[in-house]
Subunit: 336 residues, 4 copies
């Protein structure tokens, strides 16, 4: 059994991770950490009742090592993972970071968008971006993987192939995303209060959301072009799920069917990406690790519509997928 | 014009009150207070954009008097109103308290359930309970009125007539209520976070909710009997609305039709209580000051089902109704 | 009193209209029609209990005339209004059509998009489009007004001024709209079933929605340019409200503040359009006749975000606004 | 592999069953039936994309036998299963009926409540009620099992032990249940339309719901007493989940702790029943086969609060649990 620890286990992504790992035949959760909380994890997350008896603890890397931890899933806030990752790695643990600390290559870009100084800048360019559909080989054998953001996953999966294939212009990409409220985390604030979010949809972080440079950098890496996007996230009254609608300028005289055929071929061997004909609903993929996506050619634009579960394919499911790859396990273990 | 001030204007009941008062031809809002907030009220509550330009201020009773305030609606937390009410009244202002401070007659009961010492105990037995359908005459000409709690309003309207009429036993009354999340207020906490409340229903305060003594005291006052109830509130995934289902032991051999006829006759002159035949939905009354209620005789029990909007008939609407009565205005002004 | 009839009174837009008219001092509802239904309207719509005692009837234009009807609000399906409008007008009644029958100028375009033959083609070019903010003078004194579609209202209000002012290119406008489920009407079908819509967002009618030609024609008329748009509606899990995000190519070197100042000036005298600085939420405007809109300049694009209540400013409220203008009443009557 | 067929595969309970069976190592779905629908099941239920390629067919029992079907899950409407069950059984197939056809012992009671004539009355008293926690031995080796109703499961699990243990009176049991909308099925009707259900809670079938005799009969069988209940279901704005609150008259002077200890001991070996201290939320158990329940002693009444997922423990999960028992498999297979 691979001994697993989860850092920052009181939030929603950790909850989903714990649910997935309870079905994982090769993983054993031996530690869940929290700075303040010392309750049993099934009190913190009542839906884990009967699945886990372990308590939250405030553990240092050395204590995790003493416990024989092989792999760490970090759900800590940004910069907190980069503050402990070097020690965890030095102690021989593999690390999957749910946060943004290692997603970008350039610490300067990170510092600008996150308005901090990155604690571990050297490691940024060396750390693979944990989207297996694009970077599986880099992930294999890595000790540290940067789990993608939820919005980026929903946008990169449809756009990267189209950019690689030269179907769309890299300098005129519009991304309009709609996310459930769990994406805002479990920390109480006015913005994620039930009566503020329910029966309401609103845009936020227009042109300023931190996932923008992540999307641009990964799409640029994947396509070799200098990709610029306009990204507008919307807070939608549902627990989970992201629907992303993109609008791009076509570079080829390709029909809608050509585009769908190309995307189907591109993802034909991927267990978690389904190219569909009908417009997908987030309901088709929530509580799964799948992405459903389709494309349309409308009025001289190429549109894509993609849906994922922000907590699974957009977080915990992708993390388990990366964990499976790192440890050479069947990639779909605990995910189907 | 009657000059009105609202104390504690940043919450949901104050928002509903401001919406109602924007349609009131004889009321002018001249002050809205908050301890911390100094924003324009239409920034605090964007749905008031274009309706109010006034800002939040931290005002003392004397400052309200200087501004010529005639009537104060207090949406302050419990004991905070009782701490200022004496001064407001001494300065000649009428006060409608949204909170619990003056709902009970006995300060000892208040102190026990609210675990505090009441700042103004003498005034409790003298203050009318602001449910016009039962206590209109006491409210008329009062200087201070205790606006009812939302759950009590939903339970008292169907039960008080049945107790007065000797239809049901006072010692065996079960009240099962379901409320929208706005009832939990606008202060962020884990319990009213969107992802915690959405797609979820749960019971809380079972046998310990502070509305229990209020319901028992008012029903006892209204019926002359010593009424004991079991009250179970449930948090329901909707913004607003309360549905209350009650189960009582019949004392008369009355048919369902007899009971409905009696209730119809009891409320025949009430503009805001409708006795209906079909089982009502909260959707029939939200955004109105109305209560819809019906009764059923099932398996040797007399059931009632009643619905209100917790923020209007259960709070702001009742407050305006009381305001209209106190100032001798048409009782339905701004409420239809 | 102006005697009013509502054709097709069993749906959601008719319900909102009836609520608004119950507060209208100069309007009296004397007839509500339905082909099948003969119930009292307060049984069809329980939230009208106590407000209306009138029953649904199946009435011919001549019968409406006999009843002295001055104004008809038609909530009939498309082509049904155009089948009766000529007779209603001949009998001297004013008509506000909630449907699409008279929104377009060109019957050929209508026939193509609605896949029918228009019953009254001559009247199309003569009928004003009932968006008072743009066509108030044409509406004044008209006998027939075409009430705008909900999506078009949300898109035209932010875009028309920018096109008129030459701020954006007419040939590269992307409109991404998110609507509550009431927009799908009250006829039961799998697509608007609760468990299909709840916890789900999906795009539909991509590039094929019938509001596309309406938006293009009205924006072209308003701006004098030949406007082409890409319009993608999304079904969002909420009862009501539309949020529309638009992406256009700027033609001027105008700052975000310039754009906001221009829009504020453009709408400075409009009671129902508020240009706001913060990103608006549908919650700020639902249950009102207001539109809140803002603009952003992001990555070489000009974005607008606008919110309305699809059933009020997008239907019943606009209809009452048009009714008020036609009859020379205060335009805001029953709407504030 | 056990070859499985699902009759009536287009509804919500069949969807959940197909999801569960996709994880079942010993079950293979070889047929899914529908009277009208001939689409691939992943078109009928897009969330099954990638999991199943099978199409809906209209198959007779003999055709199922030719296909080598070992076990049939029937999701057909009431009386439809009883019309084919005899032939299915004669052909050697095991049958788990999701419907009510075989839940009651007495055909006369069935005929009265369902207002039909039961097609297979002799088999009623011989068919075990598929609630393993109470009737595991009867289920083992049975060829036909009646899967319990969702409301009955939520009410029987907390009440049966208390009745067996003599903790509560059998003649004074009040059951107040709150269910998500999926319980109303997938057939479009006004009552389960999104805008009718959302932001609304209502009671229905008060004293007339068909689960009433089922609850009474099973509780009587389990306890040996003649149990009478008052059952009030409420339609709650959520996809799934049932919370049931019961109010009974205690027969013993047992403390709350005594009751909780007794229930914990009663269910100590049950993998899917958890006795909890805190008031449970439906959110703790949705998407699982678990029931969480607790008890309270309040004002001379014994209360229980229990939560299940109506589609899993209340339908598809229980069916798989029964399937596992019938075929001698590990009972929790595909359910944890």
């Amino acid at each position: 059994m691979i001994k697993v620890a989860i850092l920052g286990a009181t939030g929603y992504t950790a909850l989903e991770l714990l649910k997935l790992l309870s079905r994982h035949p090769q993983a054993e959760v031996v530690a869940v950490t929290s700075r303040e909380n010392t309750d049993p994890i099934c009190i913190v997350h009542p839906s884990l009742t009967g699945l886990y008896s372990i308590r939250c603890e405030n553990l240092k890397p050395s204590e995790l090592a003493e416990r024989g931890v092989d792999a760490v899933f970090s759900c800590l806030p940004h910069t907190a993972t980069a503050a402990v990752a070097p020690e965890l790695l030095a102690l021989g643990m593999k690390v999957v970071d749910f946060g943004a600390d290692y997603r970008l290559n350039d610490a300067a870009v990170f510092n600008k968008w996150y308005n901090v100084t990155h604690p571990d800048p050297e490691r940024l360019p060396l750390t693979p971006y944990g989207l297996p559909e694009l970077f599986r080989e880099k992930i294999r054998g890595a000790n540290l993987v940067a789990n993608p953001g939820c919005y980026p996953t929903s946008a990169i999966l449809p756009l990267a192939p189209l950019l690689k294939g030269g179907f769309i212009a890299p300098d005129d990409v519009i991304i309009d995303s709609k996310s459930g409220v769990s994406g805002a985390g479990r920390k109480p604030s006015l913005k994620n209060l039930y009566p503020e979010c329910n029966e309401a949809i609103s845009a936020y972080g227009i042109g300023t959301h931190r996932h923008t440079p992540e999307i641009e950098e990964v799409l640029s890496t994947a396509s070799g072009a200098d990709v610029k996007v306009i990204f507008t996230p919307h807070l939608t009254p549902m627990d989970r799920g992201i629907l992303t609608t993109t609008y791009s300028r076509p570079l080829k005289d390709a029909s809608q069917q050509d585009v769908l055929d190309y995307l189907r071929d591109f993802y034909k061997d991927e267990p978690f990406v389904q190219v569909v004909d009908a417009a997908p609903s987030t309901k088709d993929v929530i509580h799964t690790n799948r992405c459903h996506l389709t494309a349309r050619v409308v009025g001289g634009r190429l549109l894509t519509i993609s849906v994922i579960d922000n907590l699974i394919k957009g977080a915990a499911g992708a993390a388990v997928q990366n964990f499976n790859i790192i440890f050479g396990l069947e990639e779909t273990t605990a995910l189907i």
